[in-house]
């Protein structure tokens, strides 16, 4: 038995039959009926379906993860990250290839799996522990630790259906974190809970890593991957695109996704082409992630085969609760005299007054009259605002509700009866100096 590696993956592949999975005819009646009517036709159809509707979520992936390594897995949606984790945690089986795992594995694919809303916190600790593979004696031994880590205190004997989502996640994470596996797989759990608890989770995970255990960490939070992991694996379309030191791979990954021409559109009638929309941060680097209070530069790269005279251009930022803010030439009246040939036009949104959430950038190009659209008002890019609001002086107990908050925040002050004045702004961030040093250290 080779105990050098924790996980060894050879030529791993997973195929999903996309078409058949969603086939509404895949009921019992259909199966019986078609088998009776013409067995041959059903067989033929099966063959045909195999040819056309298969989808390889993962293919030809080989990896060796040594014991004690902390590996980050990054990649876009549909790159195969989730499939990879499901295979490693044995939820589903590979179509080809094999996986060798040395040691007890625990996966936090979604915290709180198996939590029953009717049961109390105490009961759920036992249930969840058992589902994750803990012995009863083990749970009893760690019970106090789990409760303390979760900070749920007096709510221990309250049914979890009455918990806030923050409490729920805290309890769930602490059960899983006390499983003490040799290999820990973490997926996006840190996207929930308040900032303070997120830090606590990260600390727990890095203490895991320091004690010589293996950690596999899947996250969109590239800072976390950079800080936590020694090594990163970048998955793209089910293949390993790059495998190497975390800092390097993360940089390359973000370079790549930021430079992808996510949006392009053409209007033949006006001979106008949007070649790409590029988002840049205040340092002029391409990025799809911004901090609250940071500047965001939107560049419209165009090709105007025919001169487009005095167009009106509108950019708008939309959050999940609707429109947030806009830069609209129809209103400000500032428009280019003419767009002709290849060129670029930019708009700098200063000090983004928005909370950490996901946003959509929309754009429209209208003709001289303002009546007709050259490019319809539509989504041209997606970006995230991420950041720890504690650095901006936000210290509310319910900070975990930020994802559901109204996103736009203008600077404001509270004047309390006792004369206290408390001012808040996403602009004067305490982390400003940090960004500055980062900017300086860049080539």
């Amino acid at each position: 038995m080779n105990s050098e590696f924790a996980i060894s993956v050879e030529n791993l592949g997973k195929r999903y039959d996309v078409g058949r999975m969603h086939d509404p005819n895949d009921g019992l009646r259909h199966v019986i009926e078609s088998a009776f009517r013409s067995p041959l036709a059903a067989f033929k159809k099966k063959l045909h379906a195999k040819r056309t509707k298969d989808f390889w979520a993962l293919r030809g992936v080989s990896l060796q993860i040594q014991r004690g390594e902390v590996v980050g897995i990054i990649g876009g949606n549909g790159a195969g990250k989730s499939t990879m984790l499901k295979l490693l945690s044995r939820i589903t089986v590979p179509t080809e290839g094999c996986i060798r795992i040395n040691g007890r594995i625990a996966s936090l694919l979604e915290v709180g799996t198996g939590f029953h809303p009717e049961l109390t916190g105490r009961e759920n600790i036992f249930l969840n522990g058992a589902i994750l593979g803990m012995r009863r004696t083990e749970i009893i031994r760690r019970f106090d630790e789990i409760v303390e880590f979760s900070e749920i205190g007096e709510f221990l004997d309250t049914p979890v259906k009455r918990y806030s989502s923050g409490m729920y996640v805290r309890l769930a994470f602490s059960v899983a974190a006390h499983l003490e596996p040799e290999i820990l797989i973490v997926d996006e759990v840190l996207a929930v809970g308040d900032a303070a608890f997120q830090r606590k989770c990260l600390a727990k995970i890095s203490s895991f890593a320091r004690s010589g255990r293996t950690v596999l960490f899947v996250s969109h939070n590239h800072d976390a991957v950079r800080n936590l992991c020694d090594r990163a694996v970048w998955l793209k379309n089910g293949h390993v695109q790059e495998d190497g030191p975390a800092g390097l791979v993360v940089d390359n990954y973000f370079e790549a996704i930021s430079s992808v021409a996510a949006f392009s559109s053409q209007n033949h009638e006006y001979g106008f082409t949007v070649k790409s929309i590029v988002l840049k941060n205040s340092r002029g680097k391409r990025s799809l992630q911004f901090s609250p209070g940071e500047d965001m530069i939107v560049e419209l790269h165009y090709l105007a085969e025919k001169p487009l005279e005095q167009p009106y251009i509108t950019f708008g930022v939309t959050g999940k609760m609707g429109s947030c803010f806009t830069a609209n030439m129809l209103l400000d009246g500032n428009r280019p005299a003419v767009l002709h040939g290849a060129g670029m036009l930019a708009c700098r949104f200063k000090a983004l007054p928005i909370f950490p959430q996901n946003y959509t950038l929309k754009m429209a190009v209208r003709t001289k009259s303002g009546e007709d659209f050259v490019i319809d008002y539509s989504a041209v890019a997606y970006f995230n605002v991420i950041g720890d609001l504690a650095n901006y002086g936000f210290k509310g107990e319910f900070l975990s509700r930020v994802p559901n908050s109204t996103p736009v925040v203008v600077p404001y002050e509270w004047h309390l009866p006792d004369g206290t004045v408390a001012s808040f702004s996403l602009n004067d961030a305490l982390n400003q100096p940090r960004r500055l040093t980062e900017a300086v250290s860049l080539p």
């Binding site: 009921g27 019992l28 939820i91 198996g114 029953h116 049961l119 589902i131």
Partner: protein, 272 residues
């Protein structure tokens, strides 16, 4: 430290070892289901007694009083209750275990453990209810001043046979339900018609003797007859051939159920 090897298209050798290491999960799931079932109810666990008691009254009136079925000198409520005990267990067990995988879909798609745990534990949950209901036999027999015969020693064996029948059918339905939700409609039918096709409200001796063997192909017939024989004695004579058929059928149901369950288990997470 143990090494786990996961390969495409191969039954994992460590399955039964895993099942053993997750043995405590059986009890946790049973405990959860029992705990949850009676949360926010007023009379709580008494429902396990009220339900069979009321059913017994209705069946006694319908079959005994209105239908005037023969009772061979036995108190009709007692006759009905001994038939209802295994039937109610079987019907709730196949309903619950049939739904078990689908209703625990979130667990199946997020965590690994042998899926057999879920289905088996839901049969066990129904079995606990069965035991609670069985307690009701004691006051019932005292009421009718009826002492159970010596064959009552066979009762555990017959109870196991009922567990086996529930498990065998439950495994099949659970695994099929993952892919074919049609069974959500089929199972209530089985339960509804089964009540009349099985000798719950009457004795199977009223079936003409030339059809008796055919009738016994329903595995529940042998089990119910066995229950009556072991609890009520000679006045509910046992039809041995029927019981033998049941044993054979239950065994093959379990074996084939485990086989089919294991065969489809690997893709549950992708399909459910």
């Amino acid at each position: 430290m143990s090494e786990v090897l996961i390969e495409a298209d191969r039954i994992e050798r460590q399955y039964w070892r895993d099942l053993w290491s997750f043995r405590e999960l059986f009890f946790f799931l049973v405990w959860r289901d029992l705990l949850v079932r009676y949360k926010q109810t007023v009379v709580g666990v008494s429902w396990s007694l009220i339900r069979p008691f009321l059913t017994m009254l209705v069946l006694t009136v319908v079959f005994g009083k209105l239908g005037k079925m023969p009772a061979n000198g036995l108190p009709y409520p007692l006759l009905v209750f001994c038939g209802m005990l295994p039937w109610q267990f079987f019907s709730t067990a196949i309903t619950e275990s049939g739904n078990s995988l689908v209703s625990n879909a979130n667990m199946i798609s997020k965590v690994y453990f042998p899926r057999l745990v879920i289905t088996v534990s839901s049969v066990m949950t129904s079995f606990v209810d069965f035991l609670i209901s069985a307690i009701f036999l004691v006051p019932l027999m005292m009421w009718f001043r009826f002492a159970p015969p010596i064959q009552v020693l066979y009762f555990p064996f017959l109870a196991m046979l009922a567990v086996g029948a529930s498990l065998g059918v439950g495994l099949w339905i659970a695994a099929l339900m993952v892919k074919y939700r049609d069974f959500r409609f089929i199972v209530p039918f089985i339960v509804q018609f089964g009540l009349y096709l099985s000798p719950v409200g009457f004795q199977s001796s009223i079936v003409p003797s030339q059809y008796r063997l055919l009738y016994s192909l329903n595995p529940i017939v042998g089990i119910i007859d066995g229950f009556r024989w072991s609890l009520l004695g000679g006045r509910a004579p046992l039809y041995w051939q029927g019981l033998a058929i049941s044993v054979v059928e239950v065994t093959s149901l379990i074996v084939s159920g485990i086989w089919y369950f294991r065969k489809t288990e690997r893709t549950f997470a992708d399909v459910v």
